[in-house]
Symmetry: C2
């Protein structure tokens, strides 16, 4: 199968630092200087001579020869695996189960809270959690964790305190719509998938208020439809119900991971209010600019994906190496995902995206393509500093970025992260779910909306 | 001591349904028909002939003879106990510890997140949690709960996952400023007190955005000072850090209780957007109106106090009867507290309150004094329906309420709840902390701002 071959070739050229010890295959690991440079931490304390920037630039020239590119080109003509098909039985009932978690005695609170569950979202986060749950089911277990895992799965729909004490009325029938009997996904992992979507949706509700967004998934945004007041409340309600569902997993480590995501999302959104750490009026390009952007991107996008991957492995009772590998997969995939998102904002039309194109510049945001362009085009500095607010700023910045190699560099960096994601789980035993995770990384680069 | 006598006399006239089994004193319990009526659930499925309204009216005539009134009048001239003094060592460092929980690498996020910790708030919620922790320390323990309790107290400052995975940077020194060595309050209970204040403050931040409030504690509101955007983000950040701190208590039941508070607060705030369940344009007075108001009040005010009292007893490893008693104390105190708050909005001037008086009517809210007045003054219906929006509505409603017995009825109902709070903990062994809790109930009725 195409992807298996592709994935293996990525691994063989890799340093393997991030490999899980749950390896079944024996791999020839060839350490390469290039890979070492890239493997070091890309943000927090990035040093001048061993930096995110250097790593990003260095990968740009190597695109044609690597596995992900081959997979994208589909050179051998074999059909690719569909990750969604692998967990279709679970995904089919996802939205229904999420809506059940959001029931209340108030029809208009219901409407606002469930609004963003109506349009068919991509559900990328739950999909990844479910695939990771299946893929790690085959990995070695940490014996001491088994008990808490079993406990977590047994009681996720049962409150710990009496219901009359909790006073959190939910008229929805608590029994999940359907539990496929032949699956290796635990009820707690399925609930985790639902929780990730709740947290993500809560952040969309609040972000749309903060950004004064007018549309989302081809429909009016919640703040436009219900007003800021209801959108803030609905977001809080989703966070509240997500926290309650999380508590009922009865797994302190998992609760801490997902609770931290909430703080991370805020810090990321906060960082995004500025384009540079010091928010100068006339900033000069520096490597710290990219570091700041990547840290923001981790917090705002990769934190939820990485921590829910980690939590999925923990709930399955996986050993420490598998837990770490799951985290690294999610972190790198999340970074790749956002880089592609930021690239598409420059390369695709509004019609293709299903949302306004060039929206980032309109919002005043300097994302990866612009940051790469800025290095060779210092005239972008003042525009970044004033957040593209002057008339014509956004159009001019867009033009300069498209003239530069910013798009290409962004794509190369995204590809590098996607490779790292695949590399992280290279030691997992062969399975369709593992192939699905690899395909998720490949699709992240291929997607055009 | 005055309060001990007062408390005992309240109990002797009570039904004792809510008494903790951790009773040390042997009490003569005299069931009274009046008390039975009041003891039944005041909201959710209230029946016509056994209703909140009937109970509220029935207590109005009995004010002069009961214990709380005696305590307020201070007839024997003895000094009352100061609840704050009993946990002064803990309270002294509360704000400092809360600010430590809110550290981040971003000065302007820090400023917004810590803004409401600057002005000296009353810190009612942490004070109650600390008093409850001390009072329940003397109660019988639930043996099977001991282990999780010890675990909770040992590690509250230690993350469960590695810090580099969590990526939730907090530059504050993690060690608490000071831990009084001679206290019977556990570190986990102290942290719980801090968490209650974080959740309360987060709800203030979001409520002020929703209500377009302009001032808070004699200073500009956070939304006015930093803008809606930052106020929403700061509130979310507080919720995130509160959830992380909560997870580190490593006590699933406590996590569920406090997570549920977040959902409760939203539901309460949502209910407050309407004055009646069906939000009619020209509503008629009915008992359901009061039921709706009391349910809203539980969710918005009493939920946090009651559930944190319960959590405090759980963290201390108390037995089931003590845990239930702690909850009932908090629930009844919370209801009394909000009723008095709603009464003061009619009876005190802006100068006395330190915030705009009559603010509730300006916000369109029909609170207890108005609901009681409305029963005998049907002309208030249309004003309630249009949320006092027409010019002169608020002034006219205020005048009608002051002419009615609405204030008196509200005070009587608050007093009834305060008595129930005292009754709930009547079985606790004698202690200064228990006296402090009783005094908190008495002070709730005496306070004038």
């Amino acid at each position: 199968m195409q992807l298996r071959t592709g994935a293996a070739s990525v691994v063989r050229t890799g340093l393997g630092l991030t490999q899980s010890r749950c390896a079944v295959q024996s791999l020839t690991v060839v350490p390469l200087e290039r890979r070492i440079r890239q493997s070091k931490a890309l943000y927090h304390n990035t040093k001048k001579n061993d930096s995110a920037w250097a790593a990003a630039v260095s990968v740009a020239g190597n695109i044609v020869n690597n596995a992900v590119t081959k997979a994208i080109k589909g050179t051998d003509g074999l059909p690719t695996i569909d990750p969604l098909r692998l967990v279709a039985g679970e995904m089919k009932f996802l939205t229904g189960n999420i809506r059940k978690l959001l029931g209340s005695g108030h029809p208009s609170l219901d409407r606002a809270a469930k609004y963003y569950t109506q349009a068919e979202g991509k559900h990328v986060r739950p999909l990844i959690v479910l695939l990771m749950s299946r893929a790690t089911a085959l990995c070695p277990k940490a014996p001491q964790r088994q008990q808490s895992t079993l406990q977590a799965s047994a009681a996720i729909d049962t409150s710990i305190s009496p219901l009359n004490i909790l006073s959190d009325f939910n008229p929805s029938d608590a029994t999940p719509v359907s539990i496929p009997a032949d699956t290796d996904i635990l009820p707690s992992q399925r609930r985790l998938a639902e929780i990730t979507e709740l947290i993500h949706t809560a952040s969309l509700l609040h972000d749309d208020v903060i950004d004064h967004s007018e549309s989302r998934r081809g429909a009016p945004s919640a703040n436009l439809e219900f007003g800021n007041k209801m959108a803030v409340l609905a977001g809080d309600f989703l966070l509240g119900r997500a926290s309650v569902a999380l508590a009922r997993l009865r797994h302190a480590e998992v609760v801490e991971l997902l609770a931290t995501v909430i703080a991370n999302l805020v810090e990321g959104e906060f960082m995004q209010l500025k384009n540079t750490a010091r928010d100068e009026k006339n900033p000069k390009w520096s490597e710290e600019t990219l570091t700041y952007y990547l840290q923001k991107t981790y917090l705002k996008t990769a934190s939820l994906i990485s921590k829910s991957c980690r939590a999925s492995a923990l709930l399955g009772g996986a050993d420490a190496a598998t837990v770490d590998a799951a985290y690294l997969y999610g972190k790198n995939l999340g970074l790749a995902f956002q880089l592609v998102d930021d690239m598409l904002d420059y390369t695709r039309s509004e019609k293709e995206l299903g949302k306004p194109a060039g929206a980032d510049l309109e919002l005043g945001l300097a994302t990866a393509p612009l940051l790469f362009a800025w290095k060779t085009m210092p005239e972008l500095g003042p525009l970044v500093g004033r957040k593209f607010e002057k008339e014509g700023d956004a159009a001019r910045a867009r033009e300069l970025v498209l003239q530069s190699n910013g798009i290409e560099q962004t794509r190369a960096l995204a590809q590098d992260y996607a490779e790292k994601a695949i590399e992280a789980i290279s030691g997992f035993p062969d399975s369709e779910a593992k192939d699905g995770l690899i395909e998720m990384a490949v699709k992240t680069l291929k997607r055009n909306k």
